[in-house]
């Protein structure tokens, strides 16, 4: 019996343990949570002091904090978590970021500029990759640098990695200074799609780099693959988008799972695209674009808010984590520094980007509605920062590449340089050269009306001339959309937010606000069931004041979402709707007692409330045909 006891040499406690600790069991989720919290605290911390975020973009700050944490970890000889393995990054960290960008892309603006965006994204990235790759290969021959062992394929691979632009910092600066919409959307779109192009190029070049000899036919295959990957990604995305939209048609009884459906379908699109090694970024972006329009109509108000919030949250946290880890890893990895190679990389990066923008703009300007002037081009060129994707791709280079460490070091150097130097200096520079601004004043009914008017006029004139331009295609698509797509994908074509309904709602909101200010807080009255006497009787004078207030102020208080949204903030159209819904319910309760209704003499007509209807009435359902959809699409896409 002694033998059996010896076989288990650990201490066996004799009593019931009161307090035990089992760290390994929870280690992974625990550390993930801690890192996320740390990154979030960093984010919170930045906004405590406003001035910092104006001058230093958030990405810089995050990297700095990461550097500090990395230094701490290095000094205690800890290893950073293996976050940057290929799978973790590409399967878990990248999709939320891309979904965030895709979901909040201003669609109308995007489609008006889609040619330019694609041109810059695809051709621009190719130009950059090949240019940088070839020039680096050229300098590799210089003996003094000691990098002769890097062949052309590896140079091209490296160049592909560092040509992915990530203008997070730039976009927030553009937002703040209201740079013109065209520039904004091109930079935004270019970032998104150049990621896709880069990933494709990366996988192609990795494959090629491992081959001994490159045949000409491989080049053709490469091109073919490129097309398959790009178009396939879009196709899958659109398909999943439609499926998601169709599914939400039936979820009226199970509102709680609506957000889940959206996320699952987007993620599924991403994963299926990864399965077939086609561009998953394109897939998820196209899915989000397609889905958004139909889903926002089918889904309840709350679900819509939830979806937006969660998308933003996930995207934000992913981005934060990535920059954070960039800082950490910078300290903790082993670097291989090579002055010549790295400096030339930096030089070529700037050079080729500048050249690229110049040449590409020259070619595309004649086709553009609003050509880019030199200042815009400067903004475009200077706004080409590198970021997360380059970082991740560098880390996931196969080990068969001899100079992997050098590449990693060079990538980090480029990222840090562009993010810190360009990120910090872009704001003063843009303000200095006075890039065209967009007028973001509060938009009004007239703008809405006249923009519809203009669109219809232009469509009509084009019909008259027999012209086919983007109005024509837009019309055609809208007709197809209305006749077929909407019938299938939307639960009932009744407008939840047609242009008119929105006006009515906004009027109601304003009316209620005014009621609140004049009459004391009706909606705040706790138990309205008892209030048969309103707090204040309405005097004729009050009514007159109300009337004046309504007519003068109502149309100025109007809030409209700006045409494009900030990367780090939600679009704020929810506010009027939410206020409306809350107040609406309260008002209705209080109005049911009829005290307010009866004291308005009929001669007092509120300028824009429909006559004969009281504040609490429901709006008739609306069936729309052709142009109404145009109105609505515009309104929706503005959000």
């Amino acid at each position: 019996k002694d033998n059996t006891i010896l076989a288990y040499p650990e201490d066996v406690p004799s009593n019931l343990p009161v307090f035990t600790m089992d760290y390994p069991r929870i280690q992974i989720p625990f550390e993930i949570t801690l890192w996320m919290l740390l990154a979030s605290f960093a984010k919170i911390g930045f906004h405590v002091y406003h001035k910092i975020t104006i001058w230093v973009p958030e990405s810089c700050l995050l990297i700095s904090i990461g550097l500090i944490v990395g230094a701490i970890m290095h000094s205690v000889l800890e290893e950073p978590p293996a976050v940057l393995s290929s799978n973790v990054f590409f399967l878990y960290m990248l999709p939320p970021i891309v979904l965030d960008s895709g979901y909040f892309m201003p669609t109308r603006l995007f489609f008006e500029n889609v040619g330019t965006v694609m041109w810059f994204a695809v051709v621009g990235t190719l130009w950059n990759s090949i240019g940088i790759g070839v020039s680096l290969f050229a300098i590799c021959h210089i003996e003094a640098f000691g990098v002769q062992d890097i062949n052309l394929q590896e140079n091209l691979l490296f160049a592909a990695i560092i040509s992915a632009v990530d203008p997070v910092a730039v976009l927030s600066v553009f937002e703040d200074i209201s740079v013109n919409e065209q520039l904004y959307i091109v930079v935004f779109g270019e970032c998104l799609f150049s990621d896709a192009v880069t990933v494709v190029l990366y996988s192609m070049f990795t494959f090629v780099a491992e081959m001994e000899v490159v045949e000409p036919e491989d080049v053709f295959l490469g091109v073919a693959r490129f097309l398959v990957v790009g178009l396939g990604g879009m196709g899958f995305g659109v398909l999943f988008g439609f499926v998601a939209a169709f599914t939400t048609r039936f979820t009226s009884k199970v509102r709680e799972i609506e957000p889940l459906l959206i996320f699952m379908f987007s993620y599924l699109a991403y994963l299926v695209a990864e399965l077939f090694a086609i561009s998953s970024i394109m897939a998820i972006v196209c899915c989000a674009l397609t889905m958004k329009y139909y889903v926002e109509e089918n889904v309840s108000q709350r679900s819509s808010t939830t979806i937006r919030h969660v998308v933003k949250m996930l995207g934000s946290i992913s981005e934060t984590l990535i920059f954070f880890f960039l800082g950490v890893v910078t300290i903790t990895t082993e670097h291989e520094w090579n002055w010549g190679y790295i400096l030339f990389t930096l030089l070529f990066t700037f050079l080729w980007r500048g050249l690229g923008v110049l040449v590409l703009t020259l070619i595309i300007n004649p086709f553009r509605t609003i050509p880019f002037n030199m200042k815009d081009q400067f903004g475009l060129a200077y706004g080409g920062l590198r970021g997360a994707i380059s970082f991740a791709l560098a880390f996931t280079l196969p080990d068969s590449i001899g100079r992997k460490q050098l590449f990693i070091t060079a990538t980090i150097a480029v990222i840090l340089f562009t993010v810190f130097l360009q990120g910090i200096s872009i704001r003063p520079l843009i303000e200095l050269i006075n890039v065209r601004r967009t007028n973001r004043d509060v938009e009004t009914i007239n703008v809405e009306i006249h923009s519809r008017l203009m669109e219809h006029t232009m469509a009509g004139i084009e019909d008259l001339c027999g012209q086919w331009s983007h109005f024509y295609w837009k019309d055609k698509f809208m007709k197809f959309n209305n006749r077929i797509l909407r019938r299938i994908l939307i639960r009932d074509s009744r407008a939840e937010s047609s242009i008119v309904a929105l006006y009515k709602k906004l009027e109601l909101q304003n009316a209620m606000e005014i009621l609140d200010t004049v009459s004391g807080d009706i909606s705040a009255a706790p138990s309205l069931k008892e209030s048969t006497n309103p707090k204040k009787t309405f005097m004729a004078e009050d009514l007159k004041n109300m009337h004046d207030l309504l007519s003068k102020n109502m149309y100025k208080i109007r809030q409209r979402t700006v045409a494009f949204t900030s990367k780090h903030a939600l679009p704020n159209d929810d506010q009027p709707r939410e206020i409306l819904i809350r107040r609406h319910a309260n008002i209705r309760r209080s109005l049911r007692h009829g005290s307010f209704q009866s004291t308005i003499p009929r001669s007092q007509k509120y300028f824009s409330l429909p006559t004969g209807q009281n504040l609490g009435s429901k709006y008739p359902s609306v069936r729309r045909r052709y142009a109404g959809k145009l109105l609505k699409l515009n309104l929706q896409t503005q959000f």
Binding site: I445, A627, G628
Partner: protein, 212 residues
């Protein structure tokens, strides 16, 4: 041909030829264009403000010769003149020319609203079937009152634009006020203006149909 000179300065003869071809196709066998010709264009039929657009072509005010009223039929010159409102600015267009073009576009819009030609838009005209009601009429059960309300709101907005030294009546909008309102607000530098033009590129006349 005097008017064509204005047009020619920034448009190539090729484009004028294209427009001429289209003009002739629209007229059919006749020399001049009448309203019926335009109304027969099938793709135009769905447009909610079709009537206004057609009227604009026959409106004398868009010919910039200070006459009022409308033509019964128009020739190619007048057709071109209306089209010239929509020619695209090129990179070479100077800032004054652009401002002038903007003003012309605003005037075009103004003339669309001001149906009785008195140089002022009244509340009735703003509300009228056609512009606001036409734009909103796609939603059938909107109802007159709501359309009216929106038109009222729009009127108020324009009328309450703060313009120094201008006498304003709340119920009428003069061209000057509209210009003052529209130039910064509606035709904001880039966005709106970029929409109001048509490229008179080469057209595939085989695809053109006009209701024959």
């Amino acid at each position: 041909m005097l008017m064509i000179n204005v047009f020619v300065s920034s448009v190539s003869t090729e484009q004028i030829k294209n427009l001429h071809m289209r003009f002739q196709q629209l007229c059919g066998n006749e020399k001049t264009l009448r309203k019926e010709h335009l109304e027969n264009i099938p793709t135009l039929a769905d447009n909610p403000i079709k009537t206004e657009i057609i009227k604009a072509f026959f409106d004398k005010r868009n010919q910039h010769n200070n006459e009022l009223g409308s033509y019964e039929e128009i020739g190619f010159e007048e057709f071109l003149m209306v089209m010239s409102h929509f020619r695209p600015p090129s990179i070479k267009t100077s800032a004054e020319e652009k401002a002038a073009m903007r003003k012309r576009k605003v005037r075009f819009l103004f003339n669309m609203h001001d149906t009785d030609g008195d140089g002022k838009i009244t509340l009735e005209e703003y509300r009228k079937v056609g512009i606001v009601e036409g734009l909103l009429s796609e939603s059938e059960s909107i109802g007159q009152e709501v359309a009216r309300a929106i038109a009222d709101a729009a009127m108020l907005e324009v009328a309450s634009t703060n313009v120094p030294n201008m006498v304003r009546e709340v119920t009428k909008i003069t061209l000057a006020l509209f210009l003052h309102f529209a130039c910064p607000q509606i035709l904001k530098d880039l966005e709106m203006e970029s929409r109001m033009y048509v490229r008179f590129l080469d057209m595939n006349t085989a695809n053109l149909r006009c209701g024959k």
